[in-house]
């Protein structure tokens, strides 16, 4: 059996899910036997190559995330929404109860600051926030979800291990569901 390719991506989230991924500790060696991690915030590659499995952490909050997700969808055979933000927007989505303008004003204009002329940064190199934060499933087809904030390392390992052995994991049956 040839080795699979695994990529992990960090979009609109806190990177906590990736921390939890690292918490699988020595079991990473078992993963490494079955797959090469070709793209991840913890490895060097910049562009997402074609992969068998992509773990996507975080919700879609900006135009850049949107483009990136579409690209990942093209490159990945199996796309996994990784963590509560990717699955149901979670904390990232808490700005959805308000207008984007109010949110930005609260952060940059009305906040107490040394900068007397507070204004919302609009440099062209900055990414543009979407009006609403979306979970991955609202943008692309998602093949599998791992909820949790963050998901337990055991759960992550279970899912990866099953997929790498060409089996479909079932979190419900495995009693590994967790939100928050």
């Amino acid at each position: 059996m040839s080795k699979k390719k695994l990529g992990t991506v960090w979009l609109g989230g806190c990177s906590g899910c990736h921390m939890s991924l690292l918490d699988i500790d020595e079991r990473i060696l078992e993963v490494a036997k079955l797959a090469d991690i070709v793209k991840s915030p913890v490895v060097d590659g910049k562009e997402m190559p074609e992969v068998d499995i992509a773990l996507v952490e975080g919700a879609i909050t900006s135009d850049e995330h949107y483009r990136e997700l579409l690209h990942i969808r093209k490159q990945a055979k199996t796309l996994i929404a990784f963590g509560d933000c990717a699955v149901m927007t979670n904390v990232t989505g808490m700005r959805n109860y308000f207008n984007l303008k109010d949110v930005l004003d609260t952060a940059y204009v009305n906040a107490i600051s040394n900068d007397k002329e507070g204004k919302v940064p609009d440099h062209p190199s900055l990414l543009k926030l979407n009006e609403k934060v979306l979970p991955l499933q609202e943008v692309v087809k998602v093949d599998f979800v791992i909820p949790g904030c963050p998901p337990d390392a055991d759960t992550i390992f279970y899912v990866l291990f099953e997929f790498l052995n060409d089996r479909l994991p079932d979190l419900g049956k495995a009693k590994k569901l967790k939100y928050g």
Partner: protein, 235 residues
């Protein structure tokens, strides 16, 4: 005592005809999911989780409000019912802003438990993201409408057990909200006795005591049931 024969999930039982299907199931360790039910207060059949199939009846009926009848044949967990339970759970989550990771009830929440039981890994429907208020005006308690699932257990406990009727429901449809008095701050209520029963009745993190950190919250809905049991015995 007169009993009548009924069949639940192919199990033959002799039961008290005054009981509801739900009561019979609970006594016989047959699992039925509920959200708006709380033993001791009047059932309203609103959450639709306890729906069961009854032979000869076209409609699904709520176990909490339907009395048993002789020779009734009940099924509590067919594929159809399981499918509907999952949709109901998803709609609960999609309706308000249930952000478990920052909720005081995380880990102690009946809604979370429901999600696990129906094996809900994600919510297939778009979240509504309504704007909800958090009422912190009461000196001891907080009412967070983001987490409210409109089970109205607080309303019924306040009215039926405490007799204060501080809580009620305003508006209708998806705009319903729990209110205190004239939709005025809880802390200014002229009817609230600060008894805290609603806090224990609440299945989620919608009502919780101040000065508590995540993980410490303890809700004991069973104290309401025990209280009502004792009152009944006194009568």
């Amino acid at each position: 005592m007169n009993t009548i024969p009924i069949t639940i999930n192919d199990k033959k039982l002799d039961v008290d005809p005054a009981k509801t299907i739900l009561e019979v199931c609970r006594e016989n360790d047959i699992e039925i999911l509920t959200m708006c039910h709380l033993k001791g207060i009047i059932d309203i059949g609103a959450c639709r989780l306890c729906l069961v199939e009854i032979e000869g009846i076209n409609k699904l009926l709520s176990a909490c409000t339907t009395k048993v009848a002789a020779n009734m044949v009940v099924k509590t967990s067919t594929e159809r019912i399981k499918k509907y339970q999952r949709i109901t759970a998803e709609l609960f989550f999609a309706e308000r802003n249930h952000v478990c990771s920052v909720c005081v009830a995380n880990g102690k929440c009946e809604l979370q438990q429901l999600g696990y039981k129906v094996e809900m890994d994600h919510i297939r429907y778009p979240h509504l993201f309504p704007h909800c208020e958090v009422d912190t005006s009461h000196p001891w308690y907080v009412m967070d409408h983001n987490r409210c699932i409109m089970c109205t257990r607080c309303v019924r406990v306040c009215n039926e057990v405490e007799g204060a009727h501080n809580w009620d429901v305003m508006n209708r449809g998806h705009q319903v909200r729990i209110i205190s008095d004239f939709n005025t701050p809880w802390g200014e209520s002229i009817t609230c006795t600060s008894c805290g029963k609603c806090l224990h009745a609440c299945p989620t993190g919608a009502i919780w005591p101040k000065a508590i950190v995540q993980g410490q919250l303890e809700k004991k809905p069973e104290i309401i049931s025990e209280l009502m049991e004792k009152r009944k015995m006194k009568l």
